[in-house]
């Protein structure tokens, strides 16, 4: 039994359904905006299955400030990444939700990283953390994963160039010990890997594990898939173990990490449902559709059930060769821009009462 991947289908559904129903009640009571949306859709009722738990489109957090606590209780505001001029999501965390988020991350990562903190290389710039109260998705990711590390070293200078000599010193100092690396997929590829190829700098990280996330969109344009990424980073930098993760600032607790088989897994307190992009009905395992994410952690804002703009496929449940229980899945990427209009329709549909 590997916590938090130990619950099988039946017991997990019972556990999640109770918690998610409690959260729906909690948010109806504490957020007028959420209450209005639920009432305008199909009216409040308890879900009898996970598929019935009402969901909000994830883009809604870009349009509205949604919270189920008072402003005074907010200790942290997370914002989504977004290019300049684009609206960003704002996620409000109180102390309780911020703490459970940090704990969940440790639980989810423990089977991969262990309980001992490792010398850590952050493949990013330190300037991401400049604003102390409001964190971008990048900052929140770095800070969250920093818990697993010690002697943190930021490998990129503020101008996004690599600090090669700093890296060399770090590796020399921690020779022989296992090290951890963290970063965002595209930035690692562009500013670390490609830069090292261009400058003909080969590095051997030794016993090392890299955790990366943020999506493959830009790498797909360059025809780089997960296997290529792993292979190239091993060849060029000697990174032995590489685990991708899928998650979003809009839903705390939903961190899905790749197992040894390269599949993203749902931990005990989170789940995914794949929905048809047109009808929004849940579709069978093995078919690609829109990813709905559910988590029992979001208490300070109504984000326990969200329909994302990502396409994915559930590959199976409880039977991954890695031994972890729960659903395992893959993410194909963002729905094409042309369909984004369909996405704002989700909001309209949610109001009318989609079968969420």
């Amino acid at each position: 039994m590997i916590y938090p991947y130990e619950l099988k289908k039946k017991e997990k559904e019972i556990y999640l359904l109770e918690k998610l129903n409690d959260l729906t009640v909690h948010h109806v009571k504490n957020s007028n905006a959420y209450k209005a949306m639920i009432e305008k859709s199909r009216g409040f009722m308890l879900a009898k299955s996970l598929g019935e738990v009402p969901y909000l489109p994830v883009q809604l957090f870009k349009l509205m400030d949604l919270m189920s606590v008072s402003q005074a209780q907010v200790v942290k505001v997370l914002t989504s990444s977004g290019t300049t001029g684009q609206q960003v999501s704002k996620i409000y965390l109180d102390k309780e939700t911020a703490v459970s988020q940090a704990k969940a991350l440790v639980d989810v990562m423990r089977p991969v990283l262990g309980g001992k903190r490792l010398p850590m290389i952050i493949l990013d710039t330190k300037s991401v953390l400049k604003d102390r109260r409001s964190f971008s998705a990048r900052g929140a990711g770095i800070l969250g994963f920093s818990t697993f590390g010690r002697k943190h070293f930021y490998a990129l200078n503020d101008d996004m160039t690599m600090d090669w000599s700093g890296l060399e010193d770090f590796l020399e100092k921690h020779k022989g010990s296992k090290i951890m690396l963290f970063g965002f997929t595209f930035m690692i590829w562009k500013y670390v890997y490609q830069e090292s190829v261009r400058r003909c700098i080969k590095v051997d990280m030794g016993d090392s594990v890299l955790i990366h996330g943020g999506g493959w969109k830009k790498l797909q344009e360059e025809a780089v898939d997960a296997n290529t990424f792993k292979k190239k980073l091993f060849e060029q930098m000697g990174i032995r173990h590489i685990h991708n993760y899928y998650g979003m600032v809009e839903q705390v607790g939903s961190i899905f990490i790749e197992c040894a088989q390269g599949h993203l897994h749902t931990p005990k307190y989170a789940d995914v449902i794949i929905r048809d992009p047109i009808t929004f009905d849940p579709i069978p395992y093995g078919s690609q559709g829109l990813i709905q994410v559910m988590s029992v952690l979001p208490k300070s804002y109504p984000g326990h059930s969200l329909l994302t703009e990502d396409l994915g496929t559930i590959l199976g449940e409880d039977d991954c060769l890695c031994g972890w229980k729960g659903k395992y899945f893959e993410v194909a990427g963002r729905i094409p821009k042309a369909e984004l209009r369909g996405c704002s329709d989700t909001f309209a549909l949610g109001q009318r009462g989609g079968n969420g």
Binding site: A102, G115, R117, R150
Partner: protein, 79 residues
């Protein structure tokens, strides 16, 4: 002695006056002790006491008194 040492570690890492540091001082209760400062605090504790806190302890370390309790597990005695 270790209480005083831990106090200076807190003061240094959080950049606050030692007089603010009491057993009741808790994480996120003052602007200076936020998640960024927490990482600096943990690093400073590691260095000054020559230990390596486990991941779980980094999260549990939510007040000055809790810090003493945790450090006791690493054979650091407080009077």
């Amino acid at each position: 002695m270790n209480t005083q040492k831990l106090k200076s570690v807190f003061a240094e890492a959080l950049d606050i006056e030692e007089s603010f540091i009491t057993d009741e001082l808790t994480y996120n209760s003052i602007a200076e002790w936020d998640s960024v400062a927490h990482m600096a605090l943990v690093a400073e504790i590691d260095d000054q006491f020559d230990i390596m806190l486990d991941t779980d302890d980094v999260l549990d370390l939510s007040s000055f008194s809790k810090a003493k309790e945790i450090l006791t597990k690493y054979d650091i005695a407080f009077d």
